[in-house]
Amino acid sequence: MISVYYFGAISLILIGLYAILVKKNLLKILIGLSIMETGVNLLLVSVGYVAGKSAPILSEGIRPSQAVDPIPQALVLTAIVIGVATTAMALSVAIILHEKYGTLNIEEIRRLRG
């Protein structure tokens, strides 16, 4: 039986992938990408969880043997901020495409090429 966190993370990844594969609007694809990123972050953090242990901040009487794994959290911490910056860059590409072609439908943009 798979854990509920793994289930949620895999579901978010699949929903985001569905939006990327099926949807035609560029902004909707970016929304799917953002949801997928949240799913990946959730998966990484839930791999590092240890049942019955506390947060890896060794104050308030927490000993090192009572804390969860800090490394996946350190990875995810930077990935979130980088994710919003790259999303902003992709959105500015979408803005320029809309200025040039007047549409956000990726199939029409592909047809207009050349």
């Binding site: 506390s54 947060a55 901040i57 104050s59 308030e60």
Partner: protein, 84 residues
Amino acid sequence: MIGINVYLALIAIATLLSMYRVFRGPTTVDRLVAVDIMTTITAGLMVLFALYYQRMIFLDVALVYAILAFGGVIAFARYMEGGL
């Protein structure tokens, strides 16, 4: 610490009810109102988690939500009234 389960259950029911409004809301503003209420409820839930896990550092996360959550709502509102 026995009664905390009751409070968590009440907050969970409140979250489910406001999720119903997000699902059904006829306009976008209805959904946004429901998400705003969910944000407020979530700040309370985070404070209760801090008490449940007996760590004071969890209160900082609720503080972030209390201060920053209205920025997104204001961005939506300014777009809707055409003042962005």
